[in-house]
């Protein structure tokens, strides 16, 4: 499948920012926008259904995420978001 988003310009920088991907599964309607248009190919659709019967995304390659926020902004269901990766040692409720 061709990639539909151009690579962010800063992709080869040394300090690549990293993101924590959060998915609110029950909001997801399985449109695949996030997975499809992710410039870093981080996401893939799960084979599981949520309660409404949709396949939702899951993180396929977490370490490739550069916190570009594209999945967050393109998601029509406010179902996915990315937070800058927490520093080591910091504790989060939900981490990818």
């Amino acid at each position: 499948m061709p990639r539909y988003w151009r690579e962010p310009l800063d992709v080869h920088d040394i300090k690549v920012p990293r993101g924590d991907i959060h998915i609110i599964i029950e909001r997801c309607k399985g449109c695949e926008f996030c997975a499809e248009f992710c410039p870093r190919d981080v996401l893939a659709m799960s084979s599981e259904f949520n309660a409404k019967g949709y396949h939702y995304p899951e993180v396929k390659q977490a370490d490739r995420c550069v916190d570009c926020d594209l999945c967050e902004i393109i998601c029509p269901d406010f179902a996915i978001f990315v937070l800058p990766e927490k520093k080591d040692g910091e504790v989060r409720n939900a981490a990818s």
Binding site: K29, F49, A51, K52, G53
Partner: protein
């Protein structure tokens, strides 16, 4: 046949209305019965919970709405949760087993089928409901198989008749396999 009431529920886009239509037409046009199909959905055109209701009777139907659900066909969890309580004692539940997990109940006969999955296997998820139609026809016996098949054939676009009849057959066979109640 004495009055029978059937509820079909799911979300918009699953063909909930068409399912009711097909059973209704099978009864009223091909089955020599009376039937009234009614529908309810939110103001939202699509995507949200929707349901259709079918009353089938030997006699003219005055009151066209549900009183006791004899058969509940649940294609989504939301729909199931909403209507499960209405199912009468000895009622029959038909559900998509991937999407709905029925509560335990002693008085209900429950028949599950992985209809969405089967439909996807048949090549198009859109025939999920027709799989369920076949399955329901088999497990409930409420309307003659021939009549229902005719109704399917005459209710779907010409180019999809074949696929739909295949889905119907698939569902019907699943039903026959499964004639023992699970619930």
């Amino acid at each position: 046949m004495p009055r029978k009431e059937i509820r079909i529920t799911g979300y918009g886009g699953q063909g909930v209305i068409l399912t009711g239509y097909i059973f209704g037409k099978a009864a009223a046009i091909f089955g020599g019965l009376h039937s009234t199909m009614t529908q309810s959905f939110g103001p939202e055109a699509r995507g949200s919970a929707c349901a259709s209701a079918l009353v089938v009777d030997d006699n003219v139907i005055a009151y066209p709405y549900m009183r006791d659900t004899d058969i509940l066909i649940a294609l989504s969890r939301e729909g199931y949760e909403k209507y499960a309580d209405e199912l009468s004692e000895n009622g029959i539940l038909v559900y998509d087993a991937d999407l709905v997990t029925p509560h335990q109940s002693d008085t209900v006969q429950a028949y599950g089928i992985q209809a969405a999955r089967l439909a996807e296997e048949l090549g198009n998820r859109i025939v999920q409901n027709i799989v369920v139609v076949g399955f329901t026809t088999a497990v409930t016996g409420i309307i003659d198989r021939e009549a229902v098949a005719k109704a399917v054939e005459s209710s779907v676009p010409g180019s999809t008749i074949e696929l739909n009849l295949k889905a119907f057959a698939t569902g019907y066979e699943e039903g026959q396999k499964l004639l023992a109640p699970v619930g």
